[in-house]
Subunit: 189 residues, 2 copies
């Protein structure tokens, strides 16, 4: 568990460490696993672990940045004359298309978040950023203020439906989540 | 700021203390107000304050229990042959009908929660309980498992729409929130 004082420095792969951590959280329960357990199981020092992931929550939330980036890029690429709902649905489909080698970690991440509502605090920044992206996009597309009631409700509904679809997929779905998310958003109309 | 060592013990009204606290949080920002500030402004000792409200978050979340109780009672009272969506809409209307003397504190509570996503952790229990009530009701009414995708999505959408309506009302609405919530849920169909 200690950094080796001599010899070639190891390069630690953050993705591999999160996968190890999320397997532990998913299988043993988030509250039952300590950062020491994660370091031991991943074969890295406590110091290296904390350098990469300052908190246990960061091990859970870290990987969703890529989801948000895909979502934002996809929204930017949509034709400007398209209705907001069509653009949102298409962007969610792109964002929910995870690389095959990220499916296990994504599934476990979503299962752990779903099972531990208290994790929402550390994820609040991620969730708030995504909601703001939705609201800013829909308000601009429809030419109404961001604090319009209709815009606020439609964005909350879209985000909640996509979130429920992703969480359901993490527990029950096969393959990737993009078909589940797309099917659910299609029904919102 | 100290309890008086002699004389008649004061009876402290928790509702009055939360109102004082929520006014401070709303006007100065949640993070800028300490429990000491709340105690001083409410004219109670630090000890009495912590006895009633063990954390700052409890001052914010405490009052929503009554919302949940009204919601659960109203659901129980709906006719058993009514579609789930109709029953949920009716129950949200009842829950969102706050007593007139609770409107200010409710408005400030929702504004503070809306402005501080990090408060969601302390509210996770409340939110999770309410979501579970919705899911259990809809699954039972429709005769499908609770982890059915359609049930999960419909409940998430209902809860998100009602939440967005309440938050919008807290910032912009006049009177009570029940008309705003009902109007939004009517459109979900």
């Amino acid at each position: 568990m200690n950094d080796r004082p001599t010899g070639r420095p190891r390069t630690i792969d953050p993705d591999a460490v999160s996968l190890v951590a999320l397997r532990l959280f998913d299988e043993r329960g988030y509250d039952s696993v300590s950062m020491d357990d994660v370091a031991a199981e991943a074969g890295v020092s406590r110091r290296s672990l904390f350098r990469l992931f300052p908190t246990k929550g960061a091990l859970v939330w870290g990987g969703l940045d890529e989801f948000r980036e895909r979502f934002e890029d996809a929204l930017t690429d949509r034709p400007t004359d398209e209705p907001a709902a069509t653009a949102l649905r298409a962007a969610y489909r792109v964002a929910a298309t995870f690389p095959t080698d990220a499916l296990e970690v994504t599934r476990r991440r979503l299962r752990v978040i779903g099972a531990n509502p208290s994790l929402r605090q550390e994820g609040a920044f991620f969730v708030t950023e995504l909601e703001h992206t939705l609201v800013a996009f829909v308000a601009a597309r429809d030419g109404v203020p961001e604090d319009d009631l209709g815009v606020q409700v439609r964005c909350a509904v879209f985000a909640a439906a996509a979130d429920a679809a992703l969480t359901w997929w993490a527990r029950h779905g096969e393959g990737g989540p993009e078909e589940v998310v797309d099917g659910v958003l299609a029904e919102l109309g």
